[in-house]
Amino acid sequence: MSKSLICSCEDVTADDVRHAVSRGYCDVESVKRYTGFGTGICQGKSCLSAVAALLEKEKALKPAAVVPFTPRPPLYPTELRLLASAPVDESAPPLGGVPEAVEDYTPALRPTEPLPAKAKVVIIGGGIMGLALAYNLARAGETDVVVLERGYLCAGASGRNGGGVRMQWGTPALVELAKRSIDLMKGFARELGINVWLRQGGYLFMARTAAVAKKLERNVTLHNRFGVPTRLITPDAARDIVPGLTMKNCVAASFNPEDGVIFPWPFLWGYAQGARKLGVRVETYTEVKGFDLSGGQVRKVRTDRGDIACDTVVLASGAWSPEVAKLAGVQLPNEPHRHEILSTEPLKPFLGPLVSVLDSGLYFSQSMRGEIVGGMGDPKEPAGLNMGSTLRFVSRFAQALMEQLPHVGHVKVLRQWAGCYDVTPDNNPILGRTPGLDNLLQMSGFVGHGFMMAPAVAERMAKWMATGESDELFTRFSLRRFSEGSIEREDMIIG
């Protein structure tokens, strides 16, 4: 059948690019994500200029706004075993990272139409938190909402995570939220008209020490109390779930078949499109520059496209939250920490669950497209908004992954990237009112698991904002807890 291919790795046609533009995705980064062009084996070598030229020629983009998507290492598909051959000094912190200055968006990408002069609610951050909140507010009848995003949708952690969703948490609040979120994800396509490819292949947690094994054991009791069917399993049972998995040095494992993986990007498009349909303004490439404050209230949000007077401001900026809060004179205890991740060549299905070694933070799963997607936290990672990629990460990850799955040595890495966790002192989010600035609401501090919490958190927050009914979530996780000392630490953090 006649087709005009523009990206032959992913079978993307020139018409697919035009369709993305008709949906409002005009910049190269957004078109890449919406159509999938440039995400295949060649990583854009043969298609990028053709797509860019088409966008420019058909006036989807001004010439100055035609910038390439970020080129991710490695330049050519590279076997995990080769990357694993570089030594890693675990005693030193990971320094550097490429490419540099990836987040400088050219002003040519900024929309030219004016922002509204005022709005009831201004949400800062067009990640899944902000967009899900905007959609839920609009559904609750509050449509005078503006969402401000400094880049494209998916530019932050919401577009950079590994897509894991799980109910296996260590505290009741998170177990409940995650359970509700996964329920909402199941109905997402029906509600918002876009597939999110939830695949409930389970999460398999492995423990290497008695202390971590005890954690898993404690969790099973907790999970079962909330109706989550987590069970402790033997190494043999784990190998039945994941053929070829070595249980080297593992003393225990837990498995919840209802956990799974999703495709993160469509959640943002779905929430954004759903919110826009109800009247919400979602403004990309728009950066917050400051606030007008008086009488213990935020009066105006100042942006690089003009000011917006507002009744309520929601801070949902993920790892950028401390920076944005500082513009309002608010000190948040959050710290950004880089977390690196990679994706391999697409393979036919062989891996059901997301597997994680809780002791090291190693995690890996197989995406709906067949890629192995995985990461591993680095205990030496210093705080800072660094989203560069290092060889150290791919080497550490490849070594750890091959220890658990020796058959992947020849599997080739296609790209690596990084995002920032928004880390709080107790690994729990910051939600609710800001002491001293009554109409500034916090919605940050999700420590790398915000994506899977967002549907449920946004639902509760919209209800709390729209009805004024009290909800313990917004006192339990309020900013005050750090000064009042009533904290309960979450210890099931991976990646």
Binding site: C42, N195, L391, V411
Partner: protein, 433 residues
Amino acid sequence: MNLEGENIPAVEGEPVACSLIAAGESMLARSVKYHRPRGPYCFAEACSHCLMRVDGLPNVYTCRTPAREGMKLERQNAFPSAKVDVFETIDWFFPHGLDHHEMFAGVPVVEKVMAKVARQLAGLGLLPKEPAPAPPPSRTLRTRVAVVGGGGAGLAAARVLTDDGVPFLLFERADHVGGRLANGAPESGAPAVEDVATLAPDSVHLRATALGLYDDEHGRYLAVGAWEPDGPRLLKVYAERFLLAPGGHPPTVPFENNDLPGVYAGRAASLLLRRHDVAPQVAALVGWGAELYALAALMEDRGVSVAAVVDLRAAPPPGAHALATQGSEPKAHGLHHVTAFSFATSSGERRKVACDAVLVSVPVSPSFELARQGGAEVGFDEARGLFRVVADADGRTKAKDVFVAGDVTGGGTARQAAEAGRRAARALVGGLS
């Protein structure tokens, strides 16, 4: 070699995909989503048309894998076989494409079935069956100048560095130097390929692929995957200056059936002909720029019948091939292989010619990735419709230790690339302490 039970003759060391074309086996795979027939296109590891399972390893670029006796080749992503693939029906059922975002979204039961089917259909190759042997440990090298690319620009720079006695290491992805001087359509005024034996000893590494321009606590370094006699080895190359002359990638030009087996990038066609003596019988050429006409001359010269030369941008220059004409809306025809090519003439009528290959010759897309990782600026060239590294006449970029030369800055002749390489080498030597 063994292709799914059939014997394929091959010349030891030539690219596997080249042997297959010469043996008349041009359909090597089925595409990921629509299961369209695919054959080799770029011969530069820049697309995915030639991926096969080779000796039990999935998704191997056969366009750059040297043929060896007894090699086992399997086509991927097809059922029951690539020649008769029942999933080709996906392509026929969805003539206008398949929107995976919205198709069956939220339709009860159907969406669950679709998710299960999609999961089974996704992916290309199968996981290797055996654990991989560990490669030798990585090696760290330090030099004054690291050069990426052994084409006209990189070799000219290496000549300057050799003559000035500046230590350098040059990394070339292919098993030979020269780039388009060796593989492209011959250009008038092009310099001769430098004799590597006259360059500083042990400075030129062949089959050494630059993977990334990283940095760490010791500074900036190039990660290189080098093929050594005992297998692949990872090199970390720290240098005071990086001269990036990787050239460009053969781009996709969107037109109908541009992915049909028998459609080749122009530089792939010249490489096959010049290095391996493999050529179509009747070729239609389409594209724009000087290389299109040089390729037509090369084909004609070597006895290939040229059925059409269609310039999509401008009227043919004086002295162009007799059949050269300006045209638009090119289209490749054929079921599983090219049998014809058609285009709209400037008067608007469609003209169709029989051929067994369509050669797409357009300027390459600069390989700006490493330079961008190193902090150089990348701009869009509206007139040429491609991204290129922004540099001054001496190849200086925004990053003070990163220099560029050749096609990576936007294209030109081979002679210009060599001149740029020389200038950049002199400029960066001047800056060394």
